[in-house]
């Protein structure tokens, strides 16, 4: 089955775990003290479903939103978005909601959006947390504002609150942990299922017919004959 290409963008406040979620999904790995993202911020991963194979073209922010400077080009034409917040940080949900608004206003009207409360491992009930481990985690999140100082590991966003919001706004909703893998595959699989096939087929770009697109990499289809033609006028 020929995979259909789907552009998926990650959005969310700095250090909520966007890159970690992708790393878990694509390579099934986790890095404890992951650097703020720079470097290759574009990955692909296939997702097999019963009736289709979807190749996610995953765009990570390249740190561009650290100072609220993400370009609209980033989410242009995206067919899917994963908007991430950190369940231990209430402000990150506020930011996530502003992204939902922005996408609903400016992005592709058929975009499938998943709201994802990450770092669920830090607050999983029934697990008594050793405080030293938590402190280690904190150090990995240094590119944060001062709020971080007293950013403990108590849950700041109740599941019900986020879930009710997601339902109201028409979003998929998951709590995830890039650290232990909880919920990560589900986010991407559910998005893949929900993407309407007819839009996938006409992939990238609304309005414009794909026939006259040009691929700069291939360098054009016409030979020297045409060249001479112009000269003959």
């Amino acid at each position: 089955m020929k995979p259909v290409q789907v552009k998926l963008v990650l959005l969310g406040e700095a250090a909520v775990g966007k890159s970690s979620l992708v790393l878990r999904f694509v390579n099934d790995e986790f890095q404890e003290n992951k650097e703020p993202t720079i470097g290759a911020a574009f990955l692909t991963q296939k997702c097999r479903l019963e009736d289709k194979v979807i190749k996610f073209e995953i765009w990570d922010t390249a740190g561009q939103e650290r100072f609220h400077s993400l370009a609209p080009m980033y989410y242009r034409n995206a067919q899917a978005a994963v908007i991430v917040y950190d369940v231990t940080k209430a402000s990150s949900l506020v930011k996530a909601k502003s992204w939902v608004k922005e996408l609903q206003r400016q992005a592709n009207p058929n975009i499938v959006i998943a709201l994802t409360g990450n770092k669920a491992d830090l607050v999983s009930s029934g697990r008594s947390k050793s405080s030293s481990e938590d402190e280690d985690n904190q150090e990995g999140e240094e590119n944060q504002d001062e709020e971080d100082e007293d950013h403990g590991v108590t849950r700041e966003v109740p599941t019900e609150e986020a879930s009710a919001y997601a339902q109201e706004a028409g979003l998929l909703f998951y709590e995830t942990s890039a650290k232990n893998g909880q919920g990560v595959a589900e986010v991407f699989t559910e998005i893949a299922k929900k993407i309407p096939l007819e839009h996938v087929l006409s992939a990238r770009g609304r309005g414009a017919s794909s026939s006259s697109r040009v691929d700069l990499q291939t360098g054009g289809g016409l030979g020297g004959q045409q060249h001479k033609g112009v000269c003959a006028c």
């Binding site: 390579n27 720079i38 470097g39 290759a40 911020a41 574009f42 990955l43 692909t44 390249a62 740190g63 561009q64 650290r66 100072f67 609220h68 400077s69 370009a71 609209p72 080009m73 980033y74 242009r76 034409n77 206003r105 400016q106 992005a107 990238r204 770009g205 609304r206 309005g207 414009a208 017919s209 006259s212 697109r213 040009v214 691929d215 700069l216 990499q217 360098g219 054009g220 289809g221 016409l222 030979g223 020297g224 045409q226 060249h227 001479k228 033609g229 112009v230 000269c231 003959a232 006028c233």
Partner: protein, 445 residues
């Protein structure tokens, strides 16, 4: 912001973003600022809200224009030459992976009160009303000469050395008529006025060759255009820069460039100072360092349909050569539409522009406006074209040139290369960036 960078770039126009990207790739630590809350500076494409904010003091756009998100209105009228430098830079840096391009459907020229298509194929050339039969034969000889001319091979010179012979003499040699000369010089070589006639012919030969080879790449016209407007280009290069570690801050006022002993040491915004050893910026960030060389008028026109007599082209360039309307400078009309995702589907956009020659610039563009058919709304911009007074090597503040009146990005790329050389001391050599697959493999390893 209170950190030390190698280079601070101010303004996110195309020139600045390309440089930011190239320098970040080379491992320079770059901070890139813009006073606006959007990318692109003068080379931005605006949505309706931004357009009305800029031209109508924030008045609400009328509802019948449609949704904000459907508009990406360019401020400057430029297209990419398919075989030009910008395409090379896009391919080498692989910024093409972030963007999509479409052709401009046709290229037209105004002649004796009518619009004629610039022939894009032999068939079209044979049928073209632009020249009579005998003139077509003479022109054919001329184009064959241009195509075969090689500076290092005197047997192709036919007694003319284009390194020294003025273009005027070459035209005379082939016995071309005034109308044909207008057509070649303005519609193909894209000269804005006639001073080139007295300069050595090689310049015009190069321009004709660029036009022809661009036309030959995809046909129809020599031009390409990015979906969602020209503003996508700076954003694409900004992303390149960010991926290689560049830091971006929009909506950031810059209060002062800070110097010590005549050299730049940083940039102040409020009470924050970012340190650096070099600054690159557009003229608006260093107004005292530039001089005005020209003034242009650009009328951004919102239309309700394709412009008459252009075969309903969804996009076009139309050149009104100066001689045709008794001016010194050509009038350009650049048109795009919803098929390039720049406006709502029942509308078309055209920018009519020229270099200002009188005190009444709006009258100067009237011949262009007259060709457009009904105009729904018009936004007029008068802008200085500036260039830096000094080359920047003394104080290490390098100022780019404004976007000029040419219809393409070749002069922008010249400025990029020139700035790169002054900033780094080296000539720009474009290296092919690894493909997405290679990058991903490298990361996994």
């Amino acid at each position: 912001m209170d950190e030390t960078y190698d280079i601070i770039v101010m303004g996110t126009g195309l020139t600045e973003c390309i440089l930011s990207g190239l320098l970040s790739i080379e491992g320079k630590k770059v901070l890139h600022l813009d006073r606006n809350d959007y990318y692109g500076g003068d080379s931005a494409s605006l949505n309706l809200t931004q357009l009305f904010r800029q031209f109508r003091g924030g008045e609400a756009p009328p509802a019948e224009l449609g949704r904000d998100r459907d508009y990406n209105v360019d401020l400057i009228p430029k297209f990419m030459m398919a075989n030009g430098e910008l395409v090379k830079i896009l391919v080498h840096t692989d910024v093409t992976r972030y963007l999509e391009f479409k052709q401009i459907a046709g290229s037209f020229v105004y002649r004796d009160g009518k619009i004629a298509k610039v022939p894009a194929s032999e068939m079209e050339a044979v049928r073209s009303p632009l020249m009579g039969l005998f003139e077509k034969r003479r022109a054919k000889k001329f184009f064959e000469f241009v195509q075969n001319y090689k500076q290092e091979d005197p047997s192709t010179h036919g007694g003319i050395d284009i390194a020294v012979t003025p273009m005027q003499n070459v035209y005379e040699h082939f016995g071309l008529e005034a109308g044909t000369i207008d057509f070649i010089g303005h519609a193909l070589a894209l000269h804005l006025e006639d001073s080139y006639l007295n300069r050595p012919a090689f310049e015009t030969f190069d321009r004709i060759t660029l036009y022809m080879s661009s036309m030959a790449r995809w046909g129809k016209s020599p031009y390409l255009y990015p979906l969602y407007g020209l503003g996508e280009l700076p954003q694409g290069f900004a992303r390149l820069s960010a991926i290689y570690g560049g830091t971006y801050m929009l909506d950031k006022k810059v209060d002062e460039i800070v110097y010590e002993d005549g050299k730049v040491v940083g940039v102040r915004s409020g009470d924050e100072i970012a340190k650096c050893s070099q600054v690159i910026c557009d003229p608006s960030y260093a107004p005292e360092k530039v001089q005005k060389v020209d003034r242009v008028i650009r009328a951004i026109c919102l239309l309700s349909g394709p412009i008459p007599n252009t075969e309903n082209a969804d996009s076009f360039q139309l050149i009104i050569p100066q001689n045709q309307v008794k001016r010194k400078n050509d009038i350009y009309v650049a048109g795009v539409s919803s098929s390039h995702n720049v406006c709502e589907k029942n509308h078309y956009l055209a920018i009519v522009s020229t270099i200002i020659e009188t005190d009444n610039p709006q009258v100067e563009i009237q011949p262009g406006l007259d060709l457009l058919g009904p105009i729904v709304d018009m936004f007029i911009q008068i802008a200085d074209i500036s260039e830096p007074i000094q080359n920047g090597t003394t104080d290490q503040v390098f100022v780019s040139k404004s976007y000029d009146a040419t219809s393409h990005f070749e002069t922008v790329c010249d400025d990029v290369k020139d700035l790169y050389k002054r900033v780094t001391g080296n000539t720009l050599v474009l290296k092919q960036r690894p493909s997405q697959e290679e990058e991903q493999k490298e990361m996994a390893a």
